[in-house]
Assembly symmetry: D2
Homo-oligomer: 398 residues x 4
């Protein structure tokens, strides 16, 4: 039974979540050293999580002799340089989302890790939530037929550190922060071999005094004909809305990861102490989540990363996936600017996917548009005429 | 206490719903005469609803001496001609949705009723659901601040008569059948004074052997900056999905009109008889609606129509609204073809709406992007620098 | 088309709801005269509802020449005397719930109206909610098999007038106020011909400084073996919880009438004006109801009452039903005191109901306790041995 | 970092769940040896879970040299003998629920492990679900005030092995199988220091051809005045219903562990392959759970057990808790037989809990029953008169 020693780069919210997962339950992997630019935040982090070593030197953290795996939990603008250093040190690298600020940067990162041959995993937690994993498996088994449409939504009142809000450092606004999740969720449902062809996006800055977009909606057209749709916002009121909806020719899947998961609480405000974490209010009806680190996918994500490393296979989410996501976000920004559908510019490795199959049966040679059973037991057919294409009703004796 | 005698034109599903509403509870208005092209369907309809008179002559129905109000429940391609006849007969006319097959046709209809001065009401039932009415009132009161985004979704497995599926007779596909509802719901939430500026739409025919679209998603940009978004489908599995979501700067509203309204039922399939109406399945978990005619808005809709008629005021939903909806649908089709945002071409009467207000406060002259309370009670500010616009964190003593 | 003129006795919350229903939508019946003990409240009521006549004389209201139907919306301790006066006046009488303060009083009321032959209806609104009506119809059709268990729950933070809290005037506490609803809902689901045999109840006064119970749970055993269970509370936090659950041998029904009906709203508290009615909070997540007067059953209740009157049949809810409910509540109080199951003392008219049928099939003469399909396709039987009754597993080739 | 080697006794459904938890994610503990009465089932189990050693000898499994912890996943009637053997072997023992078939048996088990001093943990998984853990912490913090009522419900269509259905081997029916969960959940919410005083229960055998009860409802009165209520059934249709509801003087908590957790799926039945586990149907709306082993508490349960063992402290759920649960179930059966409240006969170690505090404020010396704000801003008080106790309304200027 192997275990891993991790260098954790970064002590922000995401560093906390990653370490909570790694040190959670009876997990056998551990964070051995932490890097933070800030002495104060770094010390607090090691105490919070019972970690022995701390450093303000990136190089020291990466080359720490105990460490075999480096987790990059740093702001977007630092990814390229830091990942290159990890790759040069010959260690496994796991990078938080998004992989980069744009497709070109992502491609350089991908090339670097591929040229050095180190293990690289893309820490896209929301593709690893237990619900997502089971739903993706269900969809791939064919249980809902061909996927026609996927909606993924991530909205909340905005991130917790300045750099997220800075277009230059982050590479964009709500799309780069939240849309990256949605896009990869959509890809998992429509199939990763299903090429994203083009994107149409709306972006606007409606509420916050920033240059980046605080709201966006985008449509992604895939080779099969399936449509992906994402909605992101930094102005949502009511907590964090994390929902995915999948429509198929034989079924439907709806996932709610945060606000309606079977935990409902009313507080009059008159009680004592602690209510629940991460809520905009502490009165009225609240919707806590049982175990966030599990429900948000962190646990299953690290399991896949380390198991893949040990088994010598690729994880579910790779740097190539991160690169595709960046390419789709580039197209979204281009579309928002050109006000047209923008093609996705990506070096495609995913093969090709055939068009969603039209399932029309025939009745006397006419295409069956729909059939219904009438209350009296007879069957009503709506038929497309074999010669004229005109559509007509026909009632038969069932 | 006045009451009205109605000529019901059309005996399809919508005629049944209208009559169920008019003859429901202790309602004081009645259908006096029915028109159907089919002798058989017409006779069955009069028996089903206990109506005395039936005719296969449109003219006879319209000019029936008892009748003061004509309800048009006929296929889209017949609206213009029939409404003109009613207007010429000087009677009140209530027309089902959509008003017409396109904006030009709708404009001619509008001009006709305005020139004759008859009372005209647009039977947009889904803007009259009890939930919608209360939610619209709540939004208008300012309770959720400025509306930034509205999603309206209507999907089901497809309509019940051939003409709906026929692009020529209907004027389009799922957009014309379902999107017309969504658009007017969106307008009620963003404000009817808020001009629809332009539309971006995706349409496709993914499953059914028809020329019209069976799936569509569209974005509507309004003058205030608010975004409307509608999703329609004739290929949804699982019943009828009718949901609206409204985001505002101070709150959120989510409405579910059909599949999750507090009535849940599991059937093993081993019981006797009747289960529930309008369900794709009769086994497994089912989600009936208590009183469809009320929940879908028919009851409140006719109340508004007849009360408005008696009070000499316009109803909530007018032919002008129907015309605006058609103009927006035209823009959607144009966008689907041009693959660009398409302007909404409409003779606008609604006035103008100011841009959603950015609410940034100031701290030492810097714009406040966000503020949070830290666990130790201190306040964390994310600020946009007054000179450079750069965003930085500042922790204060609360 | 007949219509009715009503004398409304009482101007409390229930009088408002009744009048809202009677004057709602396009209803053809009207309140003609109002009685209130208070000049001030009576005047306000007539203005609120546009009613012409008001009186502080019960006798004047009852004998008002326009009036054919008297609605009793007065405190429980006044029912007997007032109903007798209406019966003597020979007018139809509709009485709010509960019918009386105890079974003996209810029996005298029942005897009085039966001896005078006037139409009498029991205004048990929660048995007339659209969801309840459809669910009851579904259950009666056999769709969920034999009913084994019904839970009905009504809880809120307590009533709005002093007399409700007064054990003597009301006849009890939360059971008399809320349990009367639950009991009649349960009877509708287990079948009104299904005799309530005995009751076991827990009551306590946990929070409020009153003599009556503010919390109670009771179990009612019916002749068929079915169990009814009600939970009532005047100390619930979070609004009004109105839920019913029905278990049958072939299915399950869950109804939620108030807190989760597909209308969800988040308010930051920073918006303007009106939020929504009847909520404990105006911040956080709120759950308004679209049209309370319809959703709570008032509309369908008066329709049934007046239609029954006109058709010369009994309404769904009769004074006999009200009497049975009182008898069951008496047994609940007796049980709370004796700490044993208490028999229901009632003059039973409902016939008899056979025991829930055990459905055991046979396999080689052994009773089939359960059968399951194993993952490999074989069938697993749990059998009750024909001779010994011992239970054993048997795996067969399916 | 310590890890543990487990002997797994039993290869039924519970053995699978336990091993799925122990071998799940990156867990560091492992099952080293398996015991099964059946060679075939034992072999299949070791292959399924990649376990090296298997034996049909209980003694061999318990005394296996690698093993430090024995997990008892055997039928109830075997617990006492097997636990004694483990205790004599001086190994840690973790026993599935219920601890025993009755209180006397449970007490002997408790005495045995206490006399030998081995670590003993009660595997009550449903008290360890992530939702339960967070909810219990919330309640203990005082956030919902004093707990007044707890409902815990567990129902499904019946267990998967013959011995469960056998009253002698199991110790009872649905109460012993399912009620044991509910009781301990209730104890966690009302407080483990809160003595269970007496029980009132209804049991019946409505559907299955067995001697044991297939349905039961029971009320448990605690020293504080709080009421616990459990509902169990082996005849529920629609999957597995696992819900808990907690009412407090300042708030409310509702938990749903299985059927409505934010994963909703519709299947037409026309798709391919796999749908989802543990569902009664494969068509219609289905409600899968993301990660059952986590959501049902197995993961957190073993974490608590092994962490407690290593830290030298008691786990959350002890054999003493198991004994209290058995004592409460004994009282439930006694009550079902005597048809009265039955006292709970237990050697109580939990201390005492004061009565739920009545919170009445005073207004001019009168007790405040309730206060409300009227629409006009005035305050309405319902007061209990200081001398007479009579309740009266008083409207003040707010």
């Amino acid at each position: 039974m192997k275990s891993h020693n991790v260098a954790m780069l970064g002590t922000g919210l995401i560093g906390d979540f990653y370490t909570m997962a790694l040190h959670g339950q009876r997990n056998r992997d551990r964070v051995s050293v932490v890097y933070s630019r800030s002495e104060e935040r770094g010390r607090a982090f090691t105490e919070r999580w019972d970690i022995s070593d701390f450093t303000t030197s990136l190089d020291e953290a990466i080359t720490h002799p105990d460490v075999d795996t480096v987790v990059v939990g740093l702001p977007n603008f630092m990814h390229e340089e830091v990942i290159a250093a990890v790759a040069d040190a010959g260690k496994a690298v796991l990078c938080t989302k998004p992989l980069a600020r744009n497709g070109a940067e992502a491609k350089r990162i991908l090339d670097k890790v591929e040229s050095t041959g180190v293990f690289a995993g893309y820490l896209e937690d929301l593709c690893y939530t237990p619900k997502s994993l089971k739903a993706i498996e269900t969809v791939r088994s064919g249980a809902i037929g061909d996927v026609t449409w996927v909606r993924s939504r991530e909205t909340h009142p905005g991130p917790h550190s300045a750099w997220f809000w800075d277009k230059e450092k982050a590479g964009g606004g709500a799309i780069v922060d939240l849309g990256c999740h949605c896009i990869e969720i959509i890809r998992n449902f429509v199939g990763k071999e299903n090429r994203p062809v083009e994107v149409m996006a709306w972006t606007d800055t409606l509420v916050h005094p920033i240059a980046a977009e605080d709201n966006a909606v985008a449509l992604i057209r895939f080779e099969s004909g399936a449509l992906g749709q994402f909605e992101v916002s930094w102005t949502f009121r009511g907590g964090m809305d994390l929902r995915d909806e999948v429509a198929g020719t034989e079924g439907t899947i709806w996932l709610n990861h945060f606000l309606r998961t079977g935990f409902e609480m009313y507080s009059s405000g008159g009680g004592a102490g602690y209510v629940a974490e991460k809520l905009e209010s502490t009165e009225g009806w609240l919707f806590p989540v049982g175990d966030e680190v599990s429900e948000l996918g962190y646990t299953d994500m690290f399991t896949d990363m380390f198991d893949s490393m040990e088994d010598g296979r690729e994880p579910q989410e790779t740097f190539y996936d991160g690169y595709v996501v960046n390419a789709i976000m580039d197209a979204a920004y281009e579309s928002a600017s050109s006000r047209q559908w923008a093609p996705v510019d990506v070096e495609w490795r995913g093969g090709s996917t055939s068009r969603i199959e039209k399932k029309a049966g025939l009745h006397d040679g006419h295409g069956v548009v729909k059939e219904e059973i009438l209350p009296d037991g007879r069957k009503k057919l709506m038929l497309s005429h074999k010669d004229t294409g005109e559509i007509f009703d026909l009632v038969t004796e069932g």
